[in-house]
Symmetry: C2
Subunit: 359 residues, 2 copies
Amino acid sequence: MGRLHTPHGTIDLPTFMPVGTCGTVKGLTFDQVAAAGAQIVLGNTYHLALRPGPELVAQLGGLHQFIGWNKPILTDSGGFQIFSLAQMTKITEAQAVFRSHIDGSQLELSPERAVRIQEQLGSDIAMVLDHVIGLPATYAAVEEAMERSTRWAARCQRAHQRSDQIQFAIVQGGLDPGLRRRSAEQLVSLEFPGYAIGGLSVGEEPAAMYETIAATCPCLPVDRPRYLMGVGTPRDLLEGVLRGIDMFDCVMPTRNGRNASAFTDSGQLKIRNSCYRDDPRPVQADVETPQSHLSRAYLRHLFMAGEMLGPILLSLHNVAYYQRLMRQAREAIAADSFLEFYNRRLAGWGAGDSRDDSD
Amino acid sequence: MGRLHTPHGTIDLPTFMPVGTCGTVKGLTFDQVAAAGAQIVLGNTYHLALRPGPELVAQLGGLHQFIGWNKPILTDSGGFQIFSLAQMTKITEAQAVFRSHIDGSQLELSPERAVRIQEQLGSDIAMVLDHVIGLPATYAAVEEAMERSTRWAARCQRAHQRSDQIQFAIVQGGLDPGLRRRSAEQLVSLEFPGYAIGGLSVGEEPAAMYETIAATCPCLPVDRPRYLMGVGTPRDLLEGVLRGIDMFDCVMPTRNGRNASAFTDSGQLKIRNSCYRDDPRPVQADVETPQSHLSRAYLRHLFMAGEMLGPILLSLHNVAYYQRLMRQAREAIAADSFLEFYNRRLAGWGAGDSRDDSD
């Protein structure tokens, strides 16, 4: 499988990027994130632009130095948060105008400004600004957002200046294979160093997402990384890898960890359940962290007592679980046994790996 | 200076014990607590008896194994929490009867039960059950509680069975030097391996506390450790050491850390203050933790964004600061320059080291 070289290090593909929305992977020190096996983390332009602001981050030496993580960083462009978080959003050809979810102040984000902010942050990989819409939507609405995303991608490419940062394009087009193909072809003709699939995991069924990935990946060049944005469950990752995806990001490991849910090879373990009251076993013995010897009984106690350490330890476990899953996927690919690995994991997860959208 | 040997390791004196109330030093992994320099932590009989219960801890191998800390542990007896946290408390000669602050259930704690629970927890150092009262109080009330504490200490000593655990007595007597002296003499005649000064830091002025320490320490044997319970600020620690105290515990490092307050040699630094918005300096460069290079600006950002990592990092800093202070005190004592060190620190803290009772 491939490797992706950046100014801050090389990433083995396929890879999973823990999400450091506001300059922190929630609940963990970056030493813990690195020890869990992460080679790259994601930062959010929308969140960091609102707080603490890109000028401040630049003044303090850029995002790597600000947060204390000297490995690669990918920054999202803000397109998804404008769709999902911002209020009173109005999208014109020129830019997105919206109100901050924090204090209601009015903000504007153009493709050029999204590029500029990410250059101020100094990430290794920047994303173009895209127009994300919810599903289901009419064909005309999906097509319009897709075509605008292409025009915005071209503007982002023209605005991009930093030579130590690469820029990925984002394929849009909802669940329509024809629109996805057209989007990919338009963006491929612009020759980006990497391509993302955006606008998924926005309410559609998993099967529809998998089909859309399968319809899109063949339209993307084999020698450029393919990044499935905002996805997903452990199963989603393996389904993505099976269809040609190289990179993933999702808040699920930390969010579920905070909500007392641990990923294991047997599905999700809800640590508050009374069956773990006196369970001396670790969550999963071979998911190794400095704390992985601690018992389910202790972790349950921490959650029942409302102690911060419960969310911390399960977030750490889940990030380590995701990293281990990608490492195993890479090893299986190298050994030409990915399908066998995929089948074994899916059998293990069974019905236990249900989508959990709590929080 | 002295060293205290326990089945789980040796402690250099004077020492500060981070408080792991419910089996966790709030917000930190025990790896972080150890890396910060702690040689011993404190657990609370009252809290652990309520949740998860001493039987469960014993069943899971004892407190060390349950929480994943294989260095020394001291357990408090519950006397202070019965005074400060429990509801509808009634103290008779036989025992304390009170209601849980968690669910209101009625509980009983006799001296013998406090011993038994601590033996189930398996701490290295157990405390006798004492009768703590608030100040100010009448002479008669202070005397009665002190005399009862002595009788309870004798009962605890008779009930104590584990040979791998030592038991400390607790001197009571409020702010009255005569009562403190009588309490100390009574307890010393019972020949405990260590002596604590209890019933302080319950609302009295610092000066009154220092005077009481000064009146009590000369009544305690020089070859046994002296432990000042529940104290205190960095200055309190140096004032205690000056008057002969060897051991301290307090929630202040972690509580203040969660509340955005960092201890430094120049006093407390309130990290939310706007003056730190773009401050690239670390909180205090020579208080070393794996994260001590991070800027005040980043820490402020974490608190302003409500991120868990802010409380985590400041708790870690404060625990490390307290450990460094005790290490420096030991070095100054060894170099016969403690008074010089004491004067230098107090000058540095100036008015900045105000008592902060928030949260």
